[in-house]
Symmetry: C7
Subunit: 84 residues, 7 copies
């Protein structure tokens, strides 16, 4: 576990450096949530602010959430829209 400069960052470290970025979170059940990633832990539990819920091919959000805590085990992937 040496940490020489050339060693790449681990995925969860990268995630935690992307706080407050806009992200799209796709869940296993096909729903997708877009919002600002206020918080994330090593299990990929995350908190989104100003989140919109999208359902598959439908381009318009089907619901809005001021603050939502997503349980990490449902996450398929997190797309970082804008990164450091």
């Amino acid at each position: 576990m040496s940490s020489t400069p050339q060693q790449p960052k681990r995925p969860l470290t990268i995630l935690q450096r992307s706080l407050n970025m806009k992200v799209s979170v796709r869940l296993k059940n096909e729903l997708e949530y877009r919002g600002r990633m206020n918080n994330v832990d090593s299990y990929m539990n995350l908190i989104l602010l100003d989140a919109e819920e999208f359902n598959g091919a439908n381009a318009n959000p089907v619901a809005n959430y001021g603050k939502v805590v997503i349980r990490g085990n449902n996450v398929l992937f997190i797309k970082i829209e804008k990164d450091l």
Copy 2:
């Protein structure tokens, strides 16, 4: 694990600071429960008081629960209706 002021709170810490707030809990089986979050642990096991059960698009509750303990592994997300 330093805890400097600028470090963001972890999701489960946020959740546990939202006790007694109104929440909506969506489960993996599409059911949704709304009530007062009396309690939650790090596994997202939670206790809701004065809970109503909703089924998908149906706007009216299909059942009422004075006190219900939801097993965390079924949780998709927890929407915090009103937060500190």
Copy 3:
């Protein structure tokens, strides 16, 4: 993990204080069991006495069980009918 008086009880602690109460246990497969909660552990394995099995919308029990041990990982929620 201080335990000041104002700190709320954790969900599993609450559950274990509700022993011998009447509960309804909904499983992930839609079946529901009602009976007296003789016992429960931190995994939500539980023992029900004088239990009745219900199947979805059907108001009449489809089976009766003198003593049944339910494996916790199947539990969706536990409704506490009458609590301390």
Copy 4:
């Protein structure tokens, strides 16, 4: 973890005190096995002797097993037919 006399037994302790009793074991896939519970561990892995396999509403056994080891993670519940 005090063990005062009035503290109830945990579910798995109860199970292990019911060895050699007749039990019905319902699995998640709807199959049910009835036999003598020769053995059980804390994961609910169990050994049944003289077991019969039942399939849902069918009252007649569809197969017989002299000795069968059931993997605990498939168990929905264990009904203890006759208990100490």
Copy 5:
């Protein structure tokens, strides 16, 4: 965890004493494998020799395997055909 003579053996101990016996292994996906149990560990990973694959009600094997390693988490049950 006393180990008095009258204490029953745990299921996995029993399994490991049945090595080289003929077994039938039913998996969660309904397939069944019959062969000689060359090896098994506490996760129910097992090695079968001279194994035949059966598919549900079909009485004839659909495939033969000289040596196959089955991952334990797929196991529904293991029937011990002939035991010590």
Copy 6:
């Protein structure tokens, strides 16, 4: 756990030596992602850069992702297109 020269590398070690290679990641839900593997951990959480999403037999990508974090438990396999 001796580490003599003739001992083969473990799969996850191999993976982590393939950073920055082009990979195809097939998920359990049939979707496939192709891109440069920027990062991977022992759980197979991985970060892809310049990723394209493919859906089954369709030869054209259905979406593009600048930077995506895939949760490891969804991974079926990772094909390393070009390796050291």
Copy 7:
């Protein structure tokens, strides 16, 4: 856990002694991969070289993979075609 000469090898030990053998790996989703087992760990994560993908009853491979890392939790069984 004595290790007398007559004690059988554990399944994962057997697997790791079969490196570089030809294997067939059946996954839970019915796909099957055949190739040379370059590597395997205790979780059954494995690396196949010169792998072919087969789909159920179809005798012809549907895809070829120079080097593929399969995540162990998808594995149903590993058939060792030719063993030491």
